[in-house]
Symmetry: C2
Subunit: 129 residues, 2 copies
Amino acid sequence: MSMRTHWEGDAFDPECPTRIVLDRVGDKWTVLIVDVLDGGPKRFNEIRLAIGGITPKVLTSTLRSLVADGLVDREVFAEVPPRVEYSLTDLGRSLQEPVAALRRWAEANVAAITGNRDRHAEAGQADRA
Amino acid sequence: MSMRTHWEGDAFDPECPTRIVLDRVGDKWTVLIVDVLDGGPKRFNEIRLAIGGITPKVLTSTLRSLVADGLVDREVFAEVPPRVEYSLTDLGRSLQEPVAALRRWAEANVAAITGNRDRHAEAGQADRA
DNA sequence: CCGTATCCCTCCCGATACTG
DNA sequence: CAGTATCGGGAGGGATACGG
C-alpha cells in the first residue's frame, strides 16, 4: 500500500480527487447548505427554510452524506423538544475557498455563457426554418 | 429588461451563476476535455483516445454543449480525409483557473474525505452487527 | 475520419404522506 | 421538531451498430 502525495494522470479514474470533489460539490444542494452553515450552526428546519424548495427527505440525505464526508457535524441535544444542530467542520469551512473562486468566475462569466447558449439556440431555430 | 452586474441571493434560482457553472463543470467529461484541449487544438479521435472510456456519442454531445456555451471552438477543414479541430476559446481557457483551485483543494483534502467515508461505512456495519 | 441512431438503465431528485 | 416511507419521473450517460 503506497501513499501518494500527488495525483499523476488517470483523471478518468473514479478515484481521481477532482472527480470526487466535483461529484460532492456538484450535486444540487451541497453548496447551498454549506453556505447557510457558514453563517453558524443551524437546526434542521432552519436550514430547510433558509434554502427553500428542498424537501425533508433530500435535505436529510444530503446532510447525512455531508456528515459522512466529514464536512458537517451533527450534534443532538437531549432536550424536550428535541434539538439537532448542524455545523461546518474545519474541512467543510476550508471548502468555501475554492467554491468562492468558482463563484467569482461564475458571476463574471455566466452572462457570456448564457448569451452564447441563447445565440446558439436561435441559430438552431434558423437552421430548421 | 434589467442588466445585473452582481448576483444578490436567490441561490436556489436555476439562473444562479454558481448553479449554472457547477452544472457545466460538474458533468462527467467537461473538465477532462477542457484539460486535454489546454494542451492545444485536438481532433475528435485525439480527444477520445487521450481520455479513454468515453463513447463517441457522449464525446459528441459534450463537445456540442461546450461549443454552444462558447468554451470550445470547432473548426472544419475542407480536406480529404476530413479534419475537424477543437480548441479552447479564451473563455474556456479562463475556466482553468477556478478549476485548478478546486483541483488543488481536492488533492489536498480528498484523503480526509474518503477516510471519513470509509470510517462512516464501517460504523454503519458495526451498528447492524 | 467523424460522427449518428437506438436502446436501455441507473441514479438523483421531487411529491406526498406518515412517525418517534 | 426532526425526520422516515414509498412511489415515480426524467436526465445523463453507456453499449452497440450504422451512416456521410
